[in-house]
């Protein structure tokens, strides 16, 4: 079955430190991949997406993600985290015979001063 896995439920980093949020997918073929961010009481905002081509994707707010086919991964990174990055991050995938955008369970990011 198609699925998206985010192994880390909760991550805490210090402001200014680097960040990597993990995402793995299980699909028959390479799906379209997305990272969304959700602040409390808000909808989902797209950070970046991967459809094809360059495996390192740049997004908004200084985020980037790298697609690794061999690992079925699409990890999100940021070199220096800001306090305003505290939010929940969702990895999602779209592909195969379905029209569904399937989400992982999310990673809640806390930023320490």
């Amino acid at each position: 079955a198609q699925s998206v896995t985010q192994p880390d439920i909760h991550i805490t980093v210090s402001e200014g430190a680097s960040l990597e949020l993990r995402c793995n997918y299980s699909y028959g073929a390479t799906p379209y991949l997305f990272w969304y961010v959700q602040s409390p009481g808000q909808g989902l905002q797209l950070l970046l997406k991967y459809f094809s081509g360059d495996t390192l994707v740049q997004g908004i707010k200084g985020f980037e993600a790298e697609f690794k086919r061999s690992q079925s991964s699409f990890n999100l990174r940021k070199p220096s985290v800001h306090w305003s990055d505290a939010a929940e991050y969702f990895c999602a995938a779209y592909g195969g015979a379905t029209n569904k955008l399937i989400f992982g369970t999310g990673t809640l990011l806390a930023v320490q001063p």
Binding site: Q6, Y32, F34, Y36, G41, Q42, G43, L44, Q45, L46, K49, F90, Y94, G95, T98, N99, K100, L101, I102, F103, G104, T105, G106
Partner: protein, 113 residues
Amino acid sequence: GAGVSQSPRYKVAKRGQDVALRCDPISGHVSLFWYQQALGQGPEFLTYFQNEAQLDKSGLPSDRFFAERPEGSVSTLKIQRTQQEDSAVYLCASSPAQGTEAFFGQGTRLTVV
């Protein structure tokens, strides 16, 4: 409009009451999705429309849930005889075409008491 608009933002329903949640997608967007997000969880797919056609309703949890998009723009998600387990945030998203980026509304938080 500028984005996906959902109304109401908050809804409190007594158990057994019927509710209707509205979604105004971005003008011209062909695809429309409904998701259910329980507290602390990722969004779960409910149903998908392409224009006025409901192409996938496999995620609707029971026959108490019904969605429509009669003119291919505004959509309504109706829940009959609400139960406590229906309490969640209901997210609507639209996209210009199948397989492209989905834009999310801020959601409707439904609380069944």
